[in-house]
Amino acid sequence: MAPVAPRSGDAIFANVERVNAELFTLTYGAIVRQLLTDLEEVEEVNKQLDQMGYNIGIRLIDEFLAKSNVSRCVDFKETAEVIAKVGFKMFLGVTASVTNWDADGTCCSIVLEDNPLVDFVELPDTCQGLYYCNILSGVIRGALEMTLNASLCLVFAKRLCCAVNITNSSLLSTRVSIRYLLRQNVVSMKTEVTWLRDMLRGDDAFELQVKLLKQVPEEYPYKDDE
């Protein structure tokens, strides 16, 4: 199949089905409120939000790769750009920007100025330690960690769709494509995502610091001569 050019965030967002952002905002508020009532400790709520975001992220990456036709990112820099420009636009309808690269290129900041999660929200004094949007950090972390698996699944899916009968030759070609993919260094990225600036705490924007901890290339599961 000829490679398809990656689509811009705006184009994808215009094509997906959309819902009112206020329903989204209010539902998220209900979730946070439920967590606060159940868990009571602000730190616990932060962790739970991050975990929920992680669960979302590992499934979101499938949809992201399927809809955006992003084939592979050469390095972390490109990955971060793609997340900010395409990912956020596609799901939340807002664009983020990437700034503050460090010397190695392993750490950057994603800055969000408009965030649909925090409309109508004000943090009370009892919840000052709460990272209200912590679900976003979990989503990014989960999505990056599952990049490889999602890419593999996508390749399989595309091959299965093309093949009328799955014969030996098709299976072989599938393995060949995986090998090709791996040689292209599609990796799973372990990252650490923290909040630097939070508008609910008085800053002027939302800033997430994404730090690449480890890039883990997966082992090719099949022997070459099989």
Binding site: L26, T27, Q48, G93, E113, D114
Partner: protein, 280 residues
């Protein structure tokens, strides 16, 4: 333009200008979020009814806020005080804003309000989507082919009649409760012949007090958008004039809601042990 440029900082969230409500997020983002809500609640409960109740409570919070938001933004700080009005509000405005779809315009069934209001009697066809229950006077149903929240959800057989539409039922209950119409709202699957997926019906059962009460002489005065001092003076005036207007010795109760920092809406109703439009 949203997403471009810096947003002006406001010290108080109430001073921030209210958005027009046109911003959108992708359906999948909402679906993911809702699935996490359901999954989290599944870990916190032991049985189905508890899960439904928790989803409904989450929806209740959403509904209460939606009412305030829409009343202020779309209805100019006026809130419905009649039963048909509030049902119409839920069925059209709320549904359209939240779920983006217009349910087919409804016509009323033949309604037996009794003493509620003679002029509300209208003989009409049964609607497609807003219907009155035939067994009980106080039941209404909003039915939809597929609720937005249920689109990507399949219920395993061992969960029986559980319906994630309990969230939407909670939203409706929140709106009705906030407007002063206490009701019990539930969501049910209704299998339809010829269709694989069942329709969902939101069943609204209003509280007893609406229908057992003789309300023909009820007067409801609704005022909106007053500053605090004048509100106080007006309330005093109505407290004095109230019994004269209604020709009854009834206590005039008042309540107010504060949609924005400087606007106060006042709802005044004769206090036959019943407050309509209580808020805050």
């Amino acid at each position: 333009m949203i997403g471009v440029g810096k947003i002006k900082q406001y010290s108080n969230v109430l001073d921030k200008p209210l958005s027009k409500g046109k911003q959108e997020v992708s359906l999948s983002a909402f679906a993911f979020l809702f699935s996490e809500l359901v999954q989290y609640n599944q870990t916190q409960v032991d049985n189905i009814s508890e899960l439904e109740r928790r989803l409904e409570d989450a929806g209740y919070a959403v509904g209460a806020r939606v009412l305030e938001l829409l009343c202020h933004r779309d209805k100019g700080n006026r809130r419905e005080t009649r039963l048909l009005g509030i049902l119409s509000f839920v069925h059209s405005t709320v549904w359209k804003v939240l779920f983006g779809k217009l349910l087919p315009p409804f016509t009323f069934c033949y309604l037996d309000f009794g003493n509620f209001s003679r002029d509300c009697l209208q003989v009409l066809e049964v609607a497609d989507s807003l219907e009155k229950g035939t067994e009980h006077e106080d039941e209404y149903m909003i039915s939809e082919k597929e609720l937005l929240v249920n689109r990507f959800i399949s219920i395993p057989k061992d969960m029986g009649t559980f319906n994630c539409g309990a969230f939407v039922a909670g939203i409706v209950r929140g709106v009705l409760d906030g407007a002063g119409f206490p009701a019990v709202v539930t969501a049910h699957f209704v299998p339809v012949e010829g269709q694989q997926r069942p329709r969902t019906t939101i069943l609204i059962k209003f509280a007893e007090e609406f229908f057992s009460h003789r309300q023909s002489k009820r007067t409801i005065v609704e005022l909106a958008s007053f500053r605090n001092l004048s509100t106080y003076l007006l309330c005093q005036i109505f407290r004095i004039l109230g019994p004269i207007c209604t020709k009854k010795r009834s206590k005039v109760g008042l309540s107010g809601f504060v949609p924005r920092s400087s606007d106060v809406g006042v709802f005044i109703a004769p206090q036959n042990n019943q407050r309509m439009g209580e808020n805050v």
